[in-house]
């Protein structure tokens, strides 16, 4: 059996494009495990570390979902650019707002 020619743009997807079930399950177990860990750590009491730890775990979960399940790992460069650009704007949004709120103790901006 000959290998499918991946160069023809009208061909159906080849096995190269198809996810391996083992990878999908591994990502599932890690994301689910992190969710359970997040809840258990929070119930145990994280005090001042609660917000950074919870959001850190959420970020790792989101990166795994985007990279493996949303196929960013084999996405076009322009797709990656649009994803990163949206995060960049979120970053600017947070920085501008928090730079005001977090400095109000000394008179604000």
């Amino acid at each position: 059996m000959s290998k499918p020619d991946h160069n023809k743009p009208d061909d159906p997807p080849t096995m190269h494009d198809v996810d391996k079930p083992a990878t999908l399950f591994a990502v599932y177990l890690v994301v689910l495990g992190l969710a359970v860990a997040n809840i258990m750590l929070s119930v145990a009491g994280l005090h001042n570390l609660a917000l950074p730890v919870q959001l850190g775990i959420g970020t790792v979960q989101a990166v795994l979902v985007a990279w493996y399940w949303m196929h960013l790992r084999r996405g076009d460069q322009v797709v990656t650019l649009s994803a990163v650009t949206s995060l960049f704007f979120v970053f600017i949004f947070y920085v501008l707002v928090l730079s005001d709120v977090l400095t109000r103790w000394r008179g604000g901006l």
């Binding site: 009208d10 809840i39 929070s42 959420g58 399940w69 650009t85 949004f93």
Partner: protein, 260 residues
């Protein structure tokens, strides 16, 4: 011979399927970028107020139903897995598996909404809704607890307004440990708006998945058209991803204070 004769799923304005799939993916990613910006406004506002009123937000969060949030998180993550398997089935041309995975995803999403509806109903029953409902219950609790004998405080109704009134008993605004009922309601505004908008997104996602089921039945999702499933899956994964941030921000803020 024109490229449009190569495949019945190729739209006339594309040169080939690869270009069509790339355009579809990019279009959805651009839409997802606007969704991220839309939700980030809510996240920023929540962050600011949680920073300003940490104790009030922790108290309010501790009265949400954590087991439902945990269960719903599991349902959504599992639905993302079945959605990814649906793409795989579409790529391999396995129509029964595609239908199975799409229906499983829609069922898991519907179960999420079912538990959410039960949670909202419980909140309403406990008068844990911002506005006159919560405020009137809180004022009544303060009035009764202030004039009741000390041992009567133990027999009050167990809902958030009464718990708050009991906690604030003997304190006034500005005293250490005083939890503001207005700030608790501010948290509840975030809770209902954020989970409500997220719920609307889930309903839209379920609608899109059921449309895919209909298309699959009609034989309109051959392997070379798998990107139709992939585009819907991108939306579904983003909705899942947003929940992965909503859940800790809303439900875990007060998890250390009291488990429901």
């Amino acid at each position: 011979m024109s490229a449009s004769t190569h495949s019945p799923v190729l739209k006339h304005h594309f040169d080939n399927l690869e270009q069509q799939h790339s355009a579809e993916r990019l279009g959805m990613w651009m839409f997802l970028a606007t969704e991220v910006l839309f939700f980030s406004g809510l996240f920023v506002a929540y962050t600011v107020y949680r920073y300003l009123y940490p104790a009030d937000f922790e108290f309010a969060s501790s009265h949400l139903i954590l087991w439902i949030a945990g269960l719903n998180t599991g349902l959504l993550i599992t639905s993302s897995l079945t959605m990814t398997f649906a793409i795989r089935a579409a790529q391999l041309g396995d129509r029964p598996a595609l239908l199975r995975h799409l229906l499983a995803t829609a069922a898991l999403g519907s179960a999420f909404m079912g538990f959410k509806a039960y949670e909202y109903a419980t909140d309403v029953e406990e008068k844990y809704v911002p506005g006159p409902m919560f405020q009137a219950e809180y004022d009544r609790a303060v009035e009764e607890l202030t004039h009741a004998p000390k041992d009567h405080a133990e027999s009050h109704p167990h809902n958030p307004a009464w718990d708050l009134a009991a906690r604030n008993l003997g304190k006034t605004y500005g005293d250490p440990g005083f939890i503001s009922p207005q700030r608790v309601q501010l948290f509840l505004c975030f809770y209902y708006v954020m989970t409500g908008i997220h719920g609307i997104h889930i309903l839209v996602g379920i609608g899109c998945i059921l449309w895919l089921v209909q298309q699959t039945y009609a034989g309109k999702i051959p392997p070379e058209n798998y990107s139709t499933v992939e585009v819907v899956s991108l939306y579904w994964h983003l909705v899942d991803m947003i929940w992965l941030f909503l859940m800790p921000l809303l439900y875990l803020a007060g998890a250390g204070m009291k488990s429901h």
